[in-house]
């Protein structure tokens, strides 16, 4: 056995950050898929079932006057990003609690605990893209040049979710009630966001206020891939400003609280 310390290359902070982020993200994905038989199918099945329910209600039962056709594609373009948002924000409430022992014994950069959730849910979101492609082909929805906005939409949504996660994750450690409050707010937000309808379906005047929900602008960017007239420049600008502001607040809150969080977990 060797006793002499083997010289080890010191790695930069960025490298360490990337490594720990990826280790935890892949761990989360692996745990989720190694313990369930259907694995990948689950992350697709969830939005699919919801999309079919709303499609059935709004096209087969009542006459649809909202959104655009093919409605199932319109729905999925809103539902898939919603699943990412809902999953990541919901899980952020347990970002520290779930891995308390690891948080207590390693000194990886603390924001990794939030960002790995955004990343693992984001990967599931990307993995569900084939679903919308298949439905677009079946129902003949045509791709527009608006698809160029897709990377912007993903980036804005990532900024928004990271910001919210940085606010929620440390606060929940001290205010446990917040976990349930967040669940409740998310349910409200589902109907408060243009997912089963479009921003343009709202009564005049209300659409401006609805734009202050950053999801409105972000979803309009996603929908531009198939429905160009869903693109709402004003909503997008507001969404970008709101997302950046939330990220800024998140960084401040997280910095202030991390010291206390480490004592409490």
């Amino acid at each position: 056995m060797t006793t002499a310390p083997v010289p080890r290359l010191r790695r930069s902070t960025a490298q360490v950050y990337r490594q720990s982020l990826w280790l935890l993200t892949s761990r989360d994905l692996r745990v989720r898929y190694s313990t369930s038989l259907l694995g990948y199918l689950w992350s697709v099945l969830d939005p699919l079932v919801m999309a079919i329910i709303y499609w059935f209600v709004f096209t087969q039962i009542v006459d649809r006057s909202i959104g655009e056709g093919p409605y199932i594609v319109f729905l999925l373009a809103g539902l898939l990003p919603w699943m990412w948002f809902n999953g990541a924000v919901g899980d952020a409430t347990r970002a520290f609690i779930k891995d308390a022992k690891l948080v207590r014994s390693t000194r990886i950069p603390r924001t990794v605990w939030v960002n790995r959730i955004v990343l693992s849910k984001g990967i599931e979101f990307l993995a569900a893209f084939p679903v919308i492609v298949i439905f677009a082909v079946i129902f003949g929805a045509e791709l527009t040049w608006g698809v160029l906005w897709l990377p912007v939409a993903i980036l804005l949504q990532a900024i928004l979710i990271v910001g919210l996660g940085l606010i929620i994750a440390p606060l929940v450690v001290f205010f446990r009630d917040l976990e349930r409050a967040v669940k409740l707010l998310l349910r409200f937000l589902f109907y408060g966001s243009p997912i089963i309808y479009g921003l343009g379906d709202l009564p005049a005047g209300l659409d401006l206020w609805a734009s202050f929900n950053p999801l409105a602008g972000i979803i309009s960017l996603y929908r531009a891939s198939f429905f160009l007239d869903q693109l709402d420049a004003r909503a997008v600008v507001i969404a970008a400003a709101m997302s950046l502001a939330i990220l800024g607040i998140g960084v401040l809150v997280f910095r202030r609280m991390v010291r206390a969080v480490l004592k409490e977990v």
Partner: protein, 273 residues
Amino acid sequence: MSMDDTGFPHDSGLPNGGVPATGAGAGAAVIQVTGAGIRFRRNRRGRRSFKDLLAGSQRRSRPDEFWALRDVTVSVRAGEAIGVVGRNGQGKSTLLKLVAGVMLADEGSVVVHGGVAPLIEITGGFVDDLTVRENLYLTAGLHGMSKADIDARYDEIIDFAELRDFIGTPYKHLSSGMKVRLAFSVISRLEEPILLVDEVLAVGDKGFRDKCYQRIDELLAGGRTLFFVSHNERDLKRFCTRGLYLDGGLLKLDAPIADVLAAYNRDYGASNA
């Protein structure tokens, strides 16, 4: 030095195994704790409720706090072996956690040059549903080992833990002794210049404990710096040359280990050997 809240409170450190490469020579401190203090809330159950959040700052119930450590100043040079002594709840583990960087001081500063291999809550990082192999890569990676380093040491770690036949076994099916073996094996192979040990050696059977001791001896011979928390006088005398005596969160004595143990036994009478 102000610590970066979101990142590492530690300096990225020296290029290799704890030997200071700077002109300062052998006397340079690898761990510099200056006036460090940290406070906790007395009742851990006292989580604030939603009502407190909504109530004004005056009406907010402020849980009483106490200093677990206060005004601790210690300077550790490369290659020193330090034993931390004190009764339960006097701040020994907290001091180790500050050095490990898993907690951040409320006042003062803790500067550590070089990486730390913390044998603290060592089995905590493992995931029940993943295999021994997957857990090994995960834990070693989170403690800063690169993939290539882990590949190179993989066999050594598995053999030391005596888990060759259980590589594909989910972690939850291991016995508690095996879990500790895996954990010690991974952390003690991190090749970091500083080793922190917090009473983990009490677990495991005697055969493995002897192996652990031997491994710590090897690391010390290799020039590592050791920070050792224990109630076992024999272990303290075996490994350490210098002792820190913590009492009531204050550093009561910083002297050769024999003097520290003598002072501790004088104060509390009992001999734990």
